[in-house]
């Protein structure tokens, strides 16, 4: 130990201050804090209640087929939302997931003649390539992620539409393996695509929690300056995140084409905004640094069940959309209230 001993005894005020600090830190966290730390519990509760309400309107949800249809439809949404979760954890967003998915599904179908493995590899390669471009632009050239990915979606739409009359023309046969995985049944109420979803969930939940990359993803979203000062090269992290996002988008696109048995220029576009909503409902802040994939899974399930409920309610499409928007807003608002991750107002 050093030879320096504390000299001036702390004055009374200072010791009260120290005591106050200790007291503040020992006080048991209130229910709000606890809920904030366990968003999955709250969301699971919401899901159960919502499911029960939906059953009351639509008892098919109690059947094997009903459960299967929910899982089948939730899967692509959850995979797109996985992309969104990764990006949002770093404070970004990926609005090119839907177009990446459409493009990848097209490539897989188009190249189906070369055998399933090559076709799949090319489709996933599309996702990685798109993600790499996004990641370089966001990480190295500091392009705003929203703009970058909107622009990328535009580019991809053009590329696919033009390609359809040229190099992408020809086969639109969905690969058998994709079709099987996308629409088959594993056992009972479990669709085959659940296998892929479970794999992705395991990798993401465990990876975000206990891998080096997971740690730096949260760190980058929380405080980029601190990351830099800790020696983390932020661009590397962002590049990795957007590449993973592109890869997941490609997988989501393949799954969806397997479910519908078709490919289309804009077939997954209606999933784009719900994928952001599922992530936000799942408790991942778009400002970065907090959240995780567990919440997103529940968010995707909640939105899928909510959709079913709104379909069963005898209300018009108009009210369904209005309710959908309001519920997303309400969930995001209550989440912000609960956790206090409020955007700060004003100066001072």
């Amino acid at each position: 130990m050093s030879d320096v001993t504390p000299i001036a005894a702390a004055t009374t005020e200072e010791s009260t201050q120290v005591v106050a600090e200790i007291v503040r830190e020992t006080v048991r966290p209130g229910w709000r804090t606890r809920l904030a730390e366990q968003p999955a519990l709250v969301l699971a509760g919401v899901l159960v209640v919502l499911y029960a309400v939906t059953v009351w309107k639509d008892d098919s949800l109690l059947t094997v087929n009903g459960v299967r249809s929910i899982l089948l439809l939730a899967c692509p949404l959850a995979v797109f939302a996985a992309s969104q979760t990764l990006c949002m954890l770093t404070g970004g967003v990926d609005l090119s997931v839907a177009m990446t998915a459409n493009f990848a599904a097209y490539v897989a179908a188009n190249q189906s003649g070369r055998g399933p493995w090559i076709a799949l590899a090319m489709a996933l390669g599309v996702g990685v390539g798109v993600g790499a471009v996004n990641g370089l632009a966001v990480g190295v050239f500091k392009v705003n992620p929203l703009i970058m990915t909107i622009g990328m979606a535009s580019v991809l739409l053009g590329v696919v539409t033009v390609g359809l009359r040229g190099w992408l023309a020809g086969s639109t046969d969905v690969l058998d393996v994709v079709r099987t995985v996308g629409s088959g049944t594993l056992i009972g109420p479990l669709p085959t695509n659940l296998l892929v979803w479970t794999g992705i969930s395991l990798v993401l939940v465990l990876g975000l929690r206990s891998s080096g990359l997971g740690r730096v993803i949260y760190a980058v979203g929380d405080n980029q300056i601190a990351c830099r000062l800790a020696g983390v090269r932020v661009w590397q992290v962002l590049l990795a995140v957007y590449v993973l996002s592109g890869l997941l988008a490609a997988i989501g696109g393949l799954l969806f084409s397997g479910t519908t048995g078709s490919v289309g220029v804009d077939q997954t576009n209606s999933y784009l905004l719900p994928s952001v909503a599922a992530t936000v409902i799942g408790g991942t802040s778009i400002l970065g640094g907090t959240g995780g994939y567990t919440g997103t899974i529940l968010g995707a399930l909640i939105l899928t069940v909510l959709n079913r409920l709104l379909l069963r309610l005898e209300v018009s499409e108009a009210f369904r959309q209005i309710l959908y928007g309001l519920i997303v807003l309400a969930l995001a608002w209550s989440y912000v209230r609960l956790t206090g991750q409020k955007v700060r107002e004003g100066g001072g």
């Binding site: 702390a10 206990s210 730096v216």
Partner: protein, 494 residues
């Protein structure tokens, strides 16, 4: 006869979470007076100014103007009561022109022009975009804007810090004029010579309370420094003498060496070296280039000139990573720059472990836990609010920022004002730790705004003034010598 007070505060207090900035401040400003508000960094001057100008609300205490109690909730309230501030940071939106900014504050623009020409700045072009106006002139514009409100009390927060001498003189002329009109000026400055020459009265703050009030011209700099430092100063000096007598031997080779570093207008030809087992203290007033020097040493900013040598190897640093991998680590001044506020203590401490791609794989939980527990124990971090470091107290947060480097391992530690705003107990833990690290063979460079810490912790010191090292002093040189050197009053030969 007693003249009624222009401004009187009684027992004004303010806390930010657990950090108490003001405990109880009584300030009395008479009309026809230039009143200096003095105090070391963190004594609470800026907080008091913000309360007086309606930017912050006091937690307790009362403010009276001309004997009438007032409530200052917004900047507009303060303005309405005749208090006009010039803040440390220019309060002008950079993308608007000066004229547009003036319109935004609803100030009388012809009056601003009049005051500008009174200060011999009538030629300044108000159509200029604020971004293009050099900082000293922005301060003068801020001053003219404040004057145009014709305030009873003009509040000048460190206005001369960014001004060249001739512009400072024009500020002093304004202060004299305001005094002659039987109004008052509250003047905050680190330059004691200015205070002695221009202020009729001064109030010294220390640790959030007013500790002395006297006429600066009579008391002189000695009295001011004594009041700013408090009684502890004398005790500390003796303590320091004991310590340097028993100081361990330092090695021969420098672990970190800066050779003729220059950076923009902030640093000019700075050279320093620190050896294993040595603690080098850096003293400077605010804004002398110490932050830029630390940015250069930590690889956060490229130097324009000169070179950085770590353990005998010249390092070209493009990113902090380039020096961190050689064991040079930084504990920055602002804890918000170092912490991941929403993440746990564990993740914060472990963050530097994952700064290369090869470490992005699965984490060995046991190994990580061991390293972290070690660091946590060594610093006795209170882990009861471990899930988010933003909930920790300032002292505990500071310990976390230090602990993460202990978990990673280090050769050279750069500490920038490591004890600012933390409680006394933690301060002493930091001192102990710094000495212990040095004894284990690390080299330490520590900038501190509390000069007594140099006598307490360091083996020797260097004083930075205007971007140059102006003095190198032994640890026991004493605070007044340091303070004089830091004020550029006299240059002690190294």
């Amino acid at each position: 006869m007693t003249t009624p007070l222009l401004l009187e505060t009684s027992a004004v207090a303010k806390a930010f979470g657990a950090v108490v900035a003001l405990r109880a401040v009584d300030l009395r400003v008479r009309p026809g007076e230039v009143h200096a508000l003095l105090g070391a960094n963190g004594a609470g001057k800026s907080t008091l100014v913000k309360i007086l100008t309606g930017v912050l609300r006091a937690d307790a205490g009362a403010i009276a103007i001309h004997g009438r109690p007032v409530a200052l909730r917004r900047p507009a309230d303060a303005q309405g009561h005749g208090l006009a501030p010039v803040f440390q940071d220019p309060a002008m939106a950079p993308d608007l022109s000066v004229a547009e900014n003036l319109r935004l504050t609803r100030v009388d623009v012809p009056a601003v022009r009049r005051h500008l020409s009174d200060m011999d700045l009538g030629q300044l072009d108000l159509g200029e975009q604020v971004r293009d106006v050099p900082l000293p002139f922005l301060r003068m514009l801020d001053l003219a804007r404040a004057l145009a409100f014709d305030p009873q009390l003009l509040v000048l927060d460190e206005i001369t810090a960014a001004l060249p001498p001739d512009l400072s003189e024009r500020v002093f002329a304004v202060m004299r004029r305001w005094k002659e009109r039987d109004r008052a000026v509250l003047f905050i400055s680190h330059r004691l010579a200015e205070v002695r020459a221009h202020c009729d009265m001064c109030t010294v703050l220390r640790d959030g309370r007013d500790v002395a009030s006297f006429v600066p011209a009579e008391g002189g700099e000695g009295q001011i420094v004594a009041a700013m430092l408090g009684e502890a100063a004398t005790v500390v000096r003796e303590e320091a003498r004991t310590r340097s007598a028993t100081a361990v031997d330092v090695g021969d080779t420098a672990l970190l060496e800066a050779r003729n570093i220059g950076a923009g207008r902030h640093l000019e030809d700075v050279s320093l070296a620190v050896r294993a087992g040595e603690v080098l203290g850096l003293a400077a007033l605010e804004g002398q280039g110490q932050d830029v020097l630390f940015d250069v040493l930590s690889g956060n900013r490229k130097a324009d000139r000169g070179e950085l040598v770590v353990d005998g190897v010249t390092v070209k640093a493009h990113h902090p990573f380039d020096v961190i991998r050689r064991g040079v680590v930084l504990v920055p001044s602002d804890r918000l720059q170092a912490l991941l506020p929403q993440r746990s203590i564990r993740e914060n401490i472990a963050a530097p472990l994952f700064n290369r791609v090869t470490r992005w794989g699965p984490i060995n939980g046991r190994e990580e836990g061991r390293r972290i527990d070690e660091a946590v124990q060594r610093l006795s971090i209170d882990t009861r609010a471990a899930s988010q470091v933003r909930r920790l107290s300032g002292g505990n947060q500071q310990k976390v920022t230090i602990a993460r480097w202990l978990a990673r391992g280090l050769k050279v530690m750069l500490l920038f004002d490591p004890t600012r705003g933390i409680d006394v107990g933690t301060k002493h833990q930091v001192y102990d730790l710094v000495r212990a690290l040095a004894d284990e063979g690390a080299a330490i460079v520590m900038f501190t705004s509390e000069l007594r810490e140099i006598g307490l912790v360091c083996d020797r010191s260097a004083v930075l003034h205007n971007g140059r090292i102006v003095a190198e002093l032994p640890a026991d040189a004493g605070e007044s010598a340091l303070l004089r050197a830091a004020h550029g009053l006299e240059t002690v030969p190294a």
